[in-house]
Symmetry: C2
Subunit: 115 residues, 2 copies
């Protein structure tokens, strides 16, 4: 379970086209590269192929590691391609975790009480 003080990066996007060549490979490569970056905790990504919308949430130890990942050279190139080619629309929200809970509570649960 994600702990209080971790940083969530919420990436919401709408693709320009459902089958732009290279997109799936780039997305997989970015997840792999992110997961090796210092401070990475986890990533969850869901895409609706029909609606062309997607949400990816990555969790980071702190804001410094989230910012540092944003500046990785290969990731900067992907961001450029995203802006110019892949996404009709996107937004990024960066947020500091207050609490977390779920169907599989563990001693690592954060927060003092469920929301």
């Amino acid at each position: 379970m994600i702990e209080r003080g971790a940083v969530a990066v919420i990436f919401t996007s709408t693709r320009s086209s459902a089958d732009e060549p290279g997109y799936a490979a780039m997305a997989a490569r970015m997840e792999s590269l992110a997961s090796e970056h210092d401070g990475f905790i986890s990533v969850h990504s869901v895409r609706d192929p029909q609606a062309r919308t997607g949400i990816t949430v990555s969790y980071w130890r702190d804001d410094a590691s989230a910012r540092s990942w944003k500046l990785v050279q290969e990731h900067l190139l992907a961001q450029d391609l995203g802006r110019t080619t892949w996404y009709a629309d996107y937004s990024v929200v960066v947020a500091s975790v207050i609490r977390a809970y779920g169907s599989d509570p563990s001693p690592a649960d954060s927060g003092t009480q469920p929301q």
Copy 2:
């Protein structure tokens, strides 16, 4: 654009079954009910029918309004059904927005600089 200090509720889930009766109607009803609740800003939901996974992110004016929405009677019933019937697995992360940016910047953009 979401402003600093708003609260994001990130709901990640895996359905037990892809076509449980009543699920789509409940999900639509909850989005509608939430949108009328005091402090509601917006909601974004993506579900992959094949993988049965979904992410819903709702944004709230503050933590008090997010907590208050959680306690609405009809929403409590839906949460019970979610736990007992609809979801094989779920997690909720509540986080305080630090900054936000995207493809359609507006004067309401929050934060002092892009991440």
